[in-house]
Structures are given as structure tokens and as C-alpha cells.
């Protein structure tokens, strides 16, 4: 078995609009036939998790400020198969658009009750669920008046090392989309849409939190023709 290539879903490594790619993109990638090394993966879903690792809102003395949201979805392979038991890790800015990181000098307040990291393992149907705060937009130094759209970073493993994925989840209708080189580094507009979560009224918890659904699709096995 091999996993299908999906280069057209992904950004090029050299993307002029995102300045930091300039000195960090290699000149080329060489072909490699997938071997056992690439077709196996660590079983990180077996790592012990804390009871509240999926809930980013309960790690302070009080509730963090901002709009509480539920972010849930399914990890599956292209072709439809669910990916159970895989580790999903997230990190994000707080409601004011500030990361708890020494390198973030955006003059917006830190929230003593929000660290901005979470993790969980997908269930038997590949599903995950986080409770967090809607992150704020924030400025960055890429170009004059550059702002990142609101986003949550996601890291996923899958059942094969070829499926490893780190991405960013965006929110529907963000007015910053058209100005953001990282979002637009994905050249296929349909593929860009796959990074935007969907408002999900049916998963909201009344009187408590709105919900968004974000399904993550990893590379799938090559189709067997004429089967």
C-alpha cells in the first residue's frame, strides 16, 4: 500500500508573499518511494493525557476572558476512512490576539487564565472535541499593516508518517482572508476552503458556548484501479 500524493492541496515552499520562506525553502524535493519507514507511525494516542487537556478554559484560577467555543470534528483519510486513536494538538492566541510567548510583543493583554495549548486523542470514529476561547486577530511584521486572521494551529499524526500534518483552522467569513499570505499560500481556492471551520449550531451548548466543526482530511491510500 502507498499513500496518494496530494501536492496540489498544499502551499509551495517558496511563496513570495510570506517573507520568512525566502531563506528557509529548499531548492527542490527529491523523489522517495514510500517504505516501511513512511508507512508506519508512532502510536502517540497511547500517551497519557490529563483529564482536562482538551479544555483550554480550565487551567487558571478563573475562566479566561473571551468567547467560549467548542471546536470539534473528525480526522479521516482522503477516501473517507476515519483515523481513530491519533493525537491532535492545538495552540493559539488568546481572545485579544496575544500568544503566551516571549517573542510575541503585540501590545495586547495576556490573560493569566489562558495558556493556549490543548491536546486530545481521536475516538473510535476519529472524532475530537476541544473547549477553548475564540482567538483574536493580531498584527505581524510581514508587510505594512499585516494582520493574521483568527486561527487555531492544529497538529495531527495519522497512521502513517506520510500523513503527518500541521495546519491552521480559520473561522468563516474572516475579512482578513484576502490580505493574509499564509492563508493564500494555498493556491487552490477549494483547498483554502478546507481550512475554514463551519459554524455548527447543532453542537452548541445552549446558554454556554457556540460550536464550530473542523474536519481534517489526511492523505489516503492509492486507489486500486479495476478492482
Amino acid at each position: 500500500m502507498r499513500f496518494r500524493r496530494d501536492e496540489d492541496s498544499h502551499p509551495p515552499l517558496d511563496f513570495e508573499g510570506y517573507r520568512s520562506t525566502r531563506l528557509r525553502h529548499p531548492s527542490q524535493l527529491r523523489p522517495l518511494t514510500q517504505t516501511e519507514t513512511e508507512l508506519t507511525a508512532p502510536r502517540l494516542g497511547e500517551r497519557p493525557l490529563g483529564e482536562h487537556d482538551h479544555d483550554l478554559t480550565v487551567h487558571g484560577q478563573a475562566e479566561p476572558l473571551g468567547e467560549r467555543i467548542i471546536v470539534h470534528g473528525q480526522v479521516r483519510e482522503d477516501g473517507g476512512r476515519a483515523v481513530p486513536g491519533t493525537l491532535v494538538e492545538i495552540w493559539q492566541a488568546n481572545a485579544c490576539g496575544r500568544y503566551l510567548h516571549a517573542g510575541d510583543q503585540h501590545p495586547a493583554p495576556l490573560d493569566p487564565n489562558f495558556q493556549g495549548a490543548g491536546r486530545c486523542v481521536t475516538d473510535a470514529e476519529g472524532r475530537f472535541r476541544f473547549i477553548t476561547i475564540k482567538p483574536g486577530a493580531y498584527p505581524w511584521g510581514n508587510h505594512p499593516n499585516a494582520w493574521r486572521p483568527q486561527h487555531i494551529h492544529f497538529s495531527v499524526f495519522g497512521r502513517a508518517y506520510t500523513q503527518r500534518l500541521v495546519t491552521q483552522m480559520y473561522f468563516p467569513g474572516d475579512p482578513l482572508f484576502e490580505y493574509d499570505p499564509i492563508f493564500n499560500s494555498v493556491r487552490d481556492p477549494n483547498a483554502r476552503e478546507r481550512m475554514i471551520c463551519a459554524f455548527d449550531l447543532s453542537s452548541t451548548r445552549p446558554d454556554w458556548a457556540l460550536a464550530y466543526r473542523f474536519d481534517i482530511v489526511l492523505r489516503g491510500p492509492e486507489e486500486t484501479p479495476f478492482e
Binding site: 496518494r4 500524493r5 496530494d6 492541496s9 498544499h10 502551499p11 509551495p12 515552499l13 511563496f15 510570506y18 520568512s20 520562506t21 531563506l23 528557509r24 525553502h25 529548499p26 531548492s27 527542490q28 524535493l29 527529491r30 523523489p31 522517495l32 517504505t35 516501511e36 519507514t37 513512511e38 508506519t40 508512532p42 502517540l44 482522503d78 495552540w91 492566541a93 500568544y99 503566551l100 510567548h101 517573542g103 510575541d104 493556549g116 495549548a117 491536546r119 494551529h153 497538529s155 508518517y161 506520510t162 503527518r164 500534518l165 500541521v166 495546519t167 491552521q168 499560500s185 494555498v186 483547498a191 483554502r192 478546507r194 481550512m195 481534517i216 482530511v217 492523505r219 489516503g220 486507489e223
Partner: protein, 172 residues
């Protein structure tokens, strides 16, 4: 044939250290494991400057060349420090499925819109390296970028994202 409908990759950005590093990330094997070694290196950009906001992940077979052996994590994760240096505490893998002993490496960084795949081979496995099908597909200079040099307590493997000594990266 249908077009893959996969989720696009995006950069880890400058602040991934909030979410990705683990206390035991570099420990593929626990302290005191028999035959434990340190893999160390520095990640450099195209100007030859060390990259302080990169992260290395490794995936490997156990010393008998088997993947996914229960009790053997096989996986390591190390962010680079202020000097661009990373370190993984592991054991040398055995040869697996007709290949020379090697460790799969994924490189993440601000400025990398998709992680890069490369491989670590070992300088003291010259005989198996000659027969390795992946190394065989590369010219001598590129092959050399994948071979880790022996050091006192392990091996050294520097990663150069760009430039005349650019590491061989793979479309996997």
C-alpha cells in the same frame, strides 16, 4: 481519478513552543537505556544563520529493525534552542526492509509552509549505506548531507534548508 481533498498544510509559525514541545519529547528511549546515544545538530537557513524557531521530529525502527514495537516509542521531538541546536536521545535503529539503518526526520519552522522530510544515516554503516535504495538515488554530495558523523556520545546531523550544502529533502 478524483483529486485528493486533503487539508492543506500551514506553517507552525513562530509560537509553536506553546503547544508542541513535550517534557520528554527528546527521549525516544528513557534515561539509562542500553546503547542510548544522542543525535545532535543545528538547523541553518539559506544565509547560514541558525534557526531558533524550528522543530525536529524523528521516527525510527527499534535496534532489531522493527517498527511499532510495543514499549518502544520510536518517536522524538525537539525544538531548536536560541542557537538553532536540537537533540534527540535514542538508540541506533536496526536495518529494516532492505534499507540501511536510518531515522526519518521531519523539519518544521516558521517560514516553512509544509514540513520537510529527510533521513539520517550513519557514517559507521558504510557497507549498508552503499546498498541503500534511497541513498543510491542521490549523487555523492547529496548522499553526504544525510550521513551523520560519529561524535563522542552519539552522532551529529546538521540540517541546511537552503544553499550550496542544502540537505537532501524528499517528496514522500
Amino acid at each position: 481519478m478524483s483529486v485528493p481533498q486533503t487539508t492543506p498544510s500551514q506553517t507552525v509559525g513562530p509560537y509553536f513552543s506553546i503547544g508542541l514541545p513535550w517534557g520528554d519529547g527528546p527521549d525516544v528511549v528513557p534515561d539509562g537505556s542500553e546503547g542510548a546515544i544522542w543525535l545532535r545538530g543545528t538547523v541553518f537557513d539559506g544565509a547560514g544563520e541558525p534557526i531558533p524557531d524550528a522543530m525536529i521530529e524523528t521516527w525510527q525502527a527499534d535496534p532489531d529493525g522493527h517498527y511499532g514495537t510495543p514499549g518502544f516509542r520510536g518517536f522524538g521531538r525537539s525544538p531548536t534552542d536560541a542557537t538553532g541546536a536540537w537533540a534527540i536521545h535514542t538508540v541506533k535503529p536496526g536495518a529494516a526492509s532492505g534499507q540501511a539503518p536510518h531515522i526519518a526526520v521531519a523539519v518544521f519552522a516558521r517560514g516553512l509552509l509544509k514540513h520537510l522530510f529527510t533521513r539520517i544515516y550513519f557514517a559507521d554503516e558504510a557497507e549498508s549505506n552503499v546498498a541503500d535504495p534511497v541513498l543510491a538515488g542521490l549523487d555523492e554530495a547529496l548522499r553526504a548531507t544525510l550521513v551523520a558523523a560519529r561524535e563522542e556520545d552519539g552522532y551529529r546531523f546538521d540540517v541546511r534548508l537552503q544553499g550550496p550544502d542544502e540537505t537532501a529533502f524528499f517528496a514522500v
